[in-house]
Symmetry: C2
């Protein structure tokens, strides 16, 4: 039994390794080699916490297990701890024995960033120059940092409901040597790629804020009721997702589906594009939209990768279990 | 973060501690202080394994977490490992951080044995003298050993589909200094308490095999389709369970419910008897029946108890996580 504590993850895990792990497991999901289990998510009636389990099995990568944890909204204020707390547990699929326990907090941020990057690699125009950020919180910095590696972006534009948070992403742009500009939402028509990463319950980005040819990654909606973009945008776009079942129920597509603007069959798995069984973008003026809902297999994939890295570097703690 | 490996459990955990933990959490479930999450159970399509998660939260005991694992039918033959493999993970309900990891194999056997014992304590006649075992496998030895502590039993009678396994329980009876006798199923009318612990898909114990005044604990049925006793027996008995929702769907009561012999309202939580809000047995010729389906909170309760014992004895492995 191997343990990789949270504090070791930052030095171990690379954006490249997270990208490869997530790309591979999206492909395995689309080919039927990997599947996610039903999600358990409970408001436990204590500390206003949401707690649950996201599990899955990747027959190709032989990765079995779950991420357990959730959202403790009072952690930061009361205890100086981050509000999202999670741990990944991997099991040996040959025997059912616990194999590894891995801190899941930073990994969750990295796998979410990797998901939008995978969508950019496979769906954005090759000549994309301007990337737009809707949202400028902590997670937005991860999304932008990873996205900047996917195309030769020459400019970052950003909008946030609280403009005083924009320096978060301006700093990431500066680190990458890319100029940053704050814009209003209609200004997003300048972008070739847009990442939306908010926890809003009403749309900010409207269909008319998105120019033809843009790739939009909606990364914030993971719950019934949340919404980042106008439902009409999904009708105008070619829609892709990590997992269709989540996309239509708790993802960004829930609203376009409910309003009858698109059907379940209109949504394709991004893994099918990776595998080459779906053509993905077929023209330069097509809008592509990735509904990133977040699945347990992503967590297992990056945790498995970090365990391998920790073993190689002699950092994994071995416990006789 | 504390770790209690599987190999330490046998020396740490007592039947008394398991009994107390299970009795307390059944009471908390009935009073609404504790609840189980939806169960995830998946045939993963690898090694014929069934894998999943049973979680819950006990607001009274502040126990939060899950048991993960399942059934790997080829373990013993292929690898010399036991087929049931599980691990319990406890979380701090105040913060969401992982708190303890505990080997769950022996604990599962002990908590299952504790459940029938709790039902015997609260539902069997005080003057019960003869205990009958239907089933004589590995788990039957745990059930019998724990049950013998609940009344002044003077005789053990036993039946098993494969009679060559009866020495398993005969040995437990001998250890306790109680005579053992193999019987056929009609011979079970001699018993004051009957524990059924098989993994059958058709009933062995029929209503006419059970005398008035008997307490029956059905401990083997935890899946749709399994059945240990004739459905008519439930119509004749006062039926109790750990959790009503499981009892009617995957427990022994599923068949009596499906056949319209009893209704959901006819089934009471054994925790209500513990709490005194249900009178339990009200006459000496009443048949009481406990449908023990097995809930995640039992696993969490015994794991929490064993962590306390391990800390007291300095055996818990501390890992900086």
């Amino acid at each position: 039994m191997l343990i990789v504590p949270e504090k070791e993850i930052a030095d171990l895990m690379t954006r490249d390794a997270a990208f490869d792990a997530v790309e591979k497991v999206f492909a395995a999901m689309a080919s039927g080699d990997a599947y996610n289990f039903p999600v358990v998510r409970e408001a436990i009636g204590h500390e206003d916490a949401l707690y649950g389990f996201k599990g899955g099995f990747d027959r190709a990568g032989l990765t079995l297990g779950l991420k357990a944890g959730g959202y403790w909204p009072n952690n930061l204020e009361k205890r100086g701890l981050i509000n999202h707390q999670s741990t990944v547990f991997l099991f040996d699929p040959d025997t059912g024995k616990a194999k590894a326990m891995v801190g899941g907090n930073l990994l969750t941020a990295l796998r979410t960033a990797a998901a939008s990057s995978v969508s950019i690699k496979h769906l954005a125009r090759e000549d994309a120059k301007v990337i737009g950020m809707v949202g400028a919180g902590h997670q937005a910095t991860f999304q932008l940092r990873a996205a900047l590696e996917q195309r030769n972006f020459e400019k970052v534009i950003g909008w946030n409901y609280h403009p005083e948070m924009l320096p978060n992403i301006e700093k990431v742009a500066a680190e990458a040597g890319v100029p940053f500009e704050a814009v209003d939402l209609p200004g997003m028509t300048e972008a070739d790629v847009i990442i939306s990463i908010t926890s809003a319950f009403a749309p900010s980005l409207m269909a008319d804020h998105v120019a033809p040819g843009t790739h939009v990654a909606c990364m914030g909606t993971d719950t019934k009721g949340k919404q980042e973009v106008e439902a009409a945008l999904l009708a105008r776009a070619s829609v892709f997702t990590d997992e269709v079942a989540q996309s239509i129920s708790i993802g960004e597509a829930q609203h376009a589906i409910a309003e009858g603007l698109i059907k379940e069959n209109d949504i394709a798995q991004v893994g099918a594009v990776i595998n080459g069984t779906n053509p993905g973008r077929t023209s330069d003026d097509q809008i592509t939209l990735f509904d990133g809902t977040g699945v347990g297999l992503q967590d297992l994939a990056v945790a498995d990768a970090v365990v391998d890295l920790a073993v190689k570097k002699g950092i994994a703690v071995k416990v006789d279990f």
